[in-house]
Amino acid sequence: MKHRLLVLQMATPVLAILFGMLSASVIILAIGRNPLDVYAVMVRFNLTRTDSLFSILFKTTPLIFAGLAVALSFRVSLFNIGVEGQYYIGAFCAALVGFSLRGLPAVLHLPLALLAAAGGAMVWALVPIVLKLRRGAHEVITTIMMNYIASALLLYLINDVFRDPTQIGTPRVRTPLVAAAARVPSLGPLLAPLGLHGSDVEKLNLLLPVGIVIAVVLAYFLSRTRFGYEVRAVAFNPLAAEAAGIPNARVQFGMFMLSAGIAGLVGLNDILGFFGYLDIDFPKGLGFLGISVALLAKNNPLGVIPAALLFGFLDRGAAGVQFFARVPKEIIVILQALIILAIVVAYELLTRYVRTQRKREAELPVTATPAAEATGR
C-alpha cells in the first residue's frame, strides 16, 4: 500500500507532463499542425544535436538556482515571489565587483563576485522578510513590489550611473566588462578532449555543477540536520513547533535568507558565465520560471534538477519547432503554462487521494480486530 502510494507520488509529475502535452496538442491541432510531428521535431532537434544538448544544459543552469530559491521559501510556508528582483540585484552586485576591482587573482575575485551576488540579494530580501516577521505584511505583495523597484533601479544603474563610457554613442547600454578573473570558467576546455566543440559547448560553465552540488547539499541539509527537522516542524505545524521551543520566526528568516542568497546567483550564468557585462537586455523572468520549477519539483531540492532540465528542454525545443516545424514559439510557452496547470491539478488530485487512502489505513489500528490486538502488543 505504502509503496503503491510512493510510486504514484513519483509518477505524478510524469502524468502531469503527459497531460500538459495532450492539452497542448489541441492547440497545435487548432493551428493546423500534427502534434505528433511537432513533438517529434522537438525531440529530434533537442536530443540528436550536440549544440542543442549543451544549450539545454546552459538554459537549465539558472533555472536550478531559481527553482531552489523558490523551493526553499516554500519549505517554510513563505512565498518568495521576489526571486526575480533578488537576482537582478545579485547580478548587478556581481557585475559591480567584477568590473570595478582589477588585478585580483581569480581564486579571490570570482568568489568575491559570487558572495556579492548572494549578499546583495539577501540585503534586498531583508525588507520583505523583516516586514513579514515583524509586522505581518504579506510577503507575496511586498516581494512583487520589490521586483518592480529592482527592475527600475537596475535600468537606472546601468543606464545612468555605471554605463560603460566607451559605449556612449552606440546603441549598447551596458556596464563595463567584468575582469577576466571574475568570470566563471567555461567547461569547454574539459569537454574538448571528449571531442565536444562549438559555441554552445563553450557557453556551459562551472555554475552547472555548482548548482547541482548545492541542490544535493540542500537535500541532505533539509533531511538530516537538526535545522532541517525544525524546518519541517515549522512548516507542518508552527504552533506545535512554537510549543516545542522552536523559534518559528528565526527558522523562517534563515530559510528566506538562504532562498534569497541562492536567488542572487540566478543571473550569473549569463552575466559572469557568458556575456561578461550586464546590459539592459539581460535575461529576465527566470525568477518566475523558478516558481514553476519548484512547483514541478514539489519543493524537493533534488527534484529541482530534472524540473529545471524539462524547462530548459522546452525552451530549446521552442526554437527547434519554430524553425523546423514552423510552429510559433509561443505554442511552447502555452505548453509550459499548460504543464504547470496540469501539475497543479494533478497534485491536488493526488494529495486528496493519498489523504483518503491514509485515512482508510488510519482506521486499521483503530478498528482493532483480534489479529491486530495480537500483533499490537
Binding site: 505545524n237 513547533a241 521551543g245 489500528p365 482493532a368 480486530t369
Partner: protein
C-alpha cells in the same frame, strides 16, 4: 415500546485487514434515545456511517419504518428522515444562524434571491417548537460551542430529519452545556423525534438514554436498558474486563514549591486581561487541579506558564528562579513538560513521522544529535523504547502520526513529555477525546508523576477527573482564581457553582 424506526440486521463492514462491523444487529424504536457506546475503534462511527449512507455494508440489511432500504448517500438518508450531527461542526462563522441553517437548501425567489425573512422565521419556529434558545440573526462566530451545536441540530431538523444521530456530542461541551443539550434532546423525543447518541462517557449515557447498545471490536456485546444498569457493568461490557472506576490516590507528602505563580496577569483580546492576578503554588508530589468553564482564562494561563504567551504583570517562578519573561525553550529546558489542551494544534505535527513527533522539543538533546546532524540510530532506540513502554499501537514509526488513533496520538505526546525527568508538568485537558482505556492510562501516568515528585498542574473541564486526581483544586472564573479547596473539601456540584461565578461570595480563599 412503540413502533420500530430502524432495524439493522447482520451488518458487516470490512476494510482491508479488519472487520469494522461484524454482524451487527441494532433496533431503534421511535421516540427513544438510543446510546451506542464502545471504545475508540469499536465500530460505532463505521456503523453510523453505514446508517447515514457514507459507507455501504458488505453484508446485512437495513430496514427503516419496516421497509428494507438501501442507503446509498446522505441525501437518501435524509429522505428517509435520518440526519447526522457531526462531532466537528460544519458552520461558517461569518454567517448568521439562519444563513448557516439554510445553507445547501436555500429557499429562493426568482433569479436566486434568498428568502431570508422566511428562513429566519422558520428557524425561529423550530427553536420555539423544541425549546432551543437561539437567535436566528446572530452571527455564528460569536456563539459559544454549545450554541453552535444547537445550530447544527437545527440544521438537521430543518432538513426534515426524524432520527438524529449525534456523534460524540458532549466531547466539546462543558457541564452546563451538556445539561442544556440533554434538555434539548428530551424535548426532541417528547415531540416524537428519535435520537441515536454515540459516546464513551458512561455517566452521560446512563443519564440520557433509554436503551444502550455496547460495541466491542466491531461486535454487539449487548443492548441493555439504561435503568438498572451501573457504570461498572457498562465499562466491563465495553472493555471486556473489570475497570477500576476509582483510582487509588495514596497520600504523598508535598515537597518544596516547584511552580510558583504570583499575581500573574496575561492580556487577552482587546483591553480585558484574559488572566487577572492569579496566584497559586504547586509543590513537588502534588497535583493542583484547575476547574472552570472553558474560556475563563485557563488556555491563556497555561500558555503563559509554558512561555507561549506574554505575562504583563506578576511573577512566575520555577524552582525558585524567575522565568516571567523566559522563552518557551528556556522554560522547557528547566524541566517543564507541557501536555497541550489541543494536541492537533500545539502537540503534534500531523504530517510528520511518529519518530519526529516523539522528539519534538527534545530534538536538540545531545543523545539525538551529532553536531548539526540528527543522530538517527540514537533517536530510533529512544523511540522504540517509548513505543514499547507506553504501548503505542504503531506498525511503523516512519508513518505520519496522523495515521494513529486519537488515543495513540495522545500517548505519543504523553510519552514525549514524560521523557527526560521533567520537574513540573502542565497538563491541559489531558484525557480529552480519549476512550476509557486510554483515559485510565493517562490518569495513572499523572498519579505516577505525582508519586515520583513532579509538581503537576492539571487543567480540565472534566470535574470528575479533577476531583479524583487533585490534591488541591482551584476554580477559574472570568480570568481570576475565585476559589481554592483542599482535596475532599468540595463536591462537583459546588465546583459547578463557583465555575459559573455564583459561589463567589462564599468564604473562598481566593489566590
Amino acid at each position: 415500546m412503540s413502533d420500530l424506526f430502524i432495524e439493522l440486521q447482520g451488518i458487516t463492514k470490512r476494510f482491508p485487514g479488519v472487520v469494522a462491523n461484524d454482524r451487527v444487529d441494532l433496533t431503534v424504536h421511535r421516540g427513544e434515545i438510543h446510546a451506542i457506546v464502545g471504545e475508540n475503534g469499536a465500530g460505532k462511527s463505521t456503523l453510523m456511517r453505514v446508517l447515514y449512507g457514507l459507507y455501504q455494508p458488505d453484508e446485512g440489511t437495513i430496514a427503516v419504518k419496516g421497509h428494507a432500504v438501501t442507503i446509498e448517500s446522505p441525501r437518501r438518508a435524509l429522505e428517509l428522515g435520518i440526519g447526522m450531527v457531526h462531532q466537528h461542526f460544519m458552520l461558517i462563522p461569518v454567517f448568521t444562524v439562519a444563513e448557516n441553517v439554510i445553507l445547501g437548501s436555500e429557499p429562493v425567489w426568482g433569479f436566486g434571491r434568498l428568502r431570508m425573512r422566511e428562513a429566519q422565521q422558520r428557524v425561529a419556529e423550530l427553536c420555539r417548537q423544541y425549546g432551543f434558545v437561539l437567535d436566528p440573526t446572530a452571527e455564528v462566530g460569536s456563539l459559544s460551542v454549545g450554541e453552535q451545536q444547537r445550530v447544527e441540530i437545527i440544521k438537521v431538523l430543518y432538513r426534515g430529519a426524524e432520527l438524529l444521530i449525534l456523534d460524540e456530542p458532549t466531547a466539546v461541551l462543558v457541564p452546563q452545556e451538556v445539561d442544556e443539550l440533554f434538555n434539548n434532546l428530551r424535548q426532541l423525543v417528547a415531540q416524537g423525534k428519535t435520537v441515536i447518541f454515540i459516546s464513551h462517557k458512561l455517566d452521560e449515557v446512563l443519564a440520557i438514554s433509554d436503551q444502550i447498545t455496547v460495541l466491542r471490536r466491531g461486535r454487539v456485546v449487548g443492548t441493555v436498558p439504561a435503568a438498572g444498569t451501573t457504570k461498572a457493568q457498562l465499562a466491563e461490557m465495553m472493555v471486556g474486563r473489570p475497570v477500576l472506576v476509582e483510582l487509588a490516590h495514596p497520600p504523598v507528602e508535598p515537597g518544596p514549591v516547584r511552580l510558583d505563580v504570583r499575581q500573574v496577569r496575561v492580556p487577552g483580546r482587546g483591553t480585558r486581561p484574559a488572566v487577572r492576578d492569579v496566584s497559586f503554588a504547586v509543590g513537588a508530589g502534588e497535583i493542583y487541579g484547575i476547574a472552570g468553564v472553558e474560556g475563563n482564562g485557563q488556555t491563556e494561563l497555561v500558555e503563559a506558564l509554558v512561555g507561549l504567551r506574554r505575562i504583563t504583570g506578576g511573577q512566575l517562578l520555577i524552582d525558585g528562579r524567575d522565568v516571567t519573561h523566559a522563552t518557551a525553550r528556556a522554560i522547557r529546558l528547566m524541566g517543564v513538560a507541557h501536555i497541550p489542551e489541543d494536541r492537533h494544534r500545539r502537540g503534534i505535527a500531523l504530517p510528520m513521522a511518529v519518530w519526529e513527533n516523539m522528539i519534538l522539543g527534545h530534538h536538540t538533546r545531545e543523545e539525538f544529535t551529532h553536531g548539526a546532524l540528527l543522530n538517527r540510530p540514537g533517536i530510533r532506540g529512544f523511540v522504540r523504547r517509548r513505543v514499547g513502554d507506553y504501548d503505542i499501537r504503531v506498525a511503523d514509526v516512519e508513518a505520519p502520526v496522523l495515521a494513529l488513533s486519537g488515543g495513540n496520538q495522545q500517548k505519543v505526546v504523553v510519552a514525549r513529555e514524560f521523557s527526560f525527568a521533567p520537574q513540573v508538568l502542565v497538563a491541559a485537558q489531558p484525557t480529552r477525546g480519549l476512550d476509557i482505556g486510554a483515559t485510565e492510562f493517562v490518569m495513572r501516568q499523572l498519579l505516577a508523576a505525582r508519586s515520583s515528585g513532579m509538581a503537576v498542574l492539571l487543567v480540565s473541564a472534566n470535574l470528575e477527573e479533577i476531583l479524583s486526581l487533585s490534591d488541591r483544586v482551584g476554580v477559574m472564573y472570568g480570568g481570576a482564581l475565585v476559589a481554592e479547596f483542599a482535596r475532599g473539601e468540595v463536591s462537583a456540584a459546588e465546583l459547578g457553582l463557583y465555575m459559573t461565578g455564583a459561589g463567589r461570595t462564599g468564604e473562598a480563599r481566593a489566590g
